[in-house]
Symmetry: C2
Subunit: 168 residues, 2 copies
């Protein structure tokens, strides 16, 4: 396959060729999306392996994690917080419901909508996997003091506002 | 499916129940892995859609991006820098080679190994997609000054050292 649209449609991009630095000028080790993707690839992969040994997938863990702090969410918002496609999230909720770790309940304000709640059993399971997650988190921040962590977190919150599609 | 190993094997985790804060105490909006996964989910998803319109997938784009700044890599290191499974990366290299955008060449120091090089045509294609990537990058950092960006990048470099499996 060739890319005639890339090879010939130069108008689109030539106009901003000179607007900023090249990737070579920034350098891979200073290019934030590279650093963030590589960090989260390593973190998520390592945690996925640890969770598999505990019998949980990443979408199921994230569903329990989110509901443990903000319960009774609609599926759409739960998928955003769990950073999962809605279809993936629905399958995770199905599986967790079958195991008695979450339950669906009609939304009292909207008869067509359902909300998802964590059960006591679900809280117990999450409490037992949380130390594994916290260890991965603390390994990530080893040697970084509270002030640097706070400044870093504040910048992340700004980046999220810049890139997210949702208003939450 | 139930999780007897979670429900019964409490010894593993009870010992460090009290070692640190709970997720509820940290708060989802201050939990760095949540913030970073959500930021990169939005960034990667938006860029993936933009690249699809230019006829490129994320692994192919990342392969060209990496080789444009550090050419002649072995597949294994290229996969790490492109943050892709080696099988995914190999398919991307196959496709790019078929399009004349990269070429494989035997490693002069190791007859069983090959290295991957970007071609002139590959550089031309990457130069044309780079403004799209740079726009996504600049959107991410809108309103964040150079000092904050530099401090943030320095912290990211430390986090990468903390979580990566490789020594590069």
């Amino acid at each position: 396959m060739h890319h005639p649209e890339i090879s010939t449609n130069a108008n689109l991009v030539d106009e901003d060729r000179t607007e900023g630095p090249t990737l070579g000028e920034i350098g891979l080790q200073h290019f934030v999306p590279y650093l963030m993707n590589r960090i989260m690839g390593a973190y998520n992969g390592s945690l996925r392996d640890d969770l598999a040994r505990l019998g949980l997938t990443t979408p199921k863990m994230r569903t329990l994690a989110v509901l443990s702090v903000t319960d009774g969410l609609a599926i759409g918002r739960l998928a955003v917080y769990a950073i999962a496609e809605q279809s993936t999230l629905s399958r995770a909720v199905d599986a967790l419901e079958g195991e008695g770790l979450v339950r669906r309940s009609p939304d009292p304000g909207d008869s067509r909508a359902t909300r998802v709640f964590i059960t006591e059993k679900g809280r117990t399971v999450f409490d037992r996997i949380w130390p594994t997650i916290r260890r991965a988190y603390e390994k990530m921040f080893a040697g970084i003091d509270a002030a640097e962590r706070a400044a870093f977190t504040a910048t992340l919150q700004k980046l999220l506002v810049n890139v997210r599609k949702e208003d939450f």
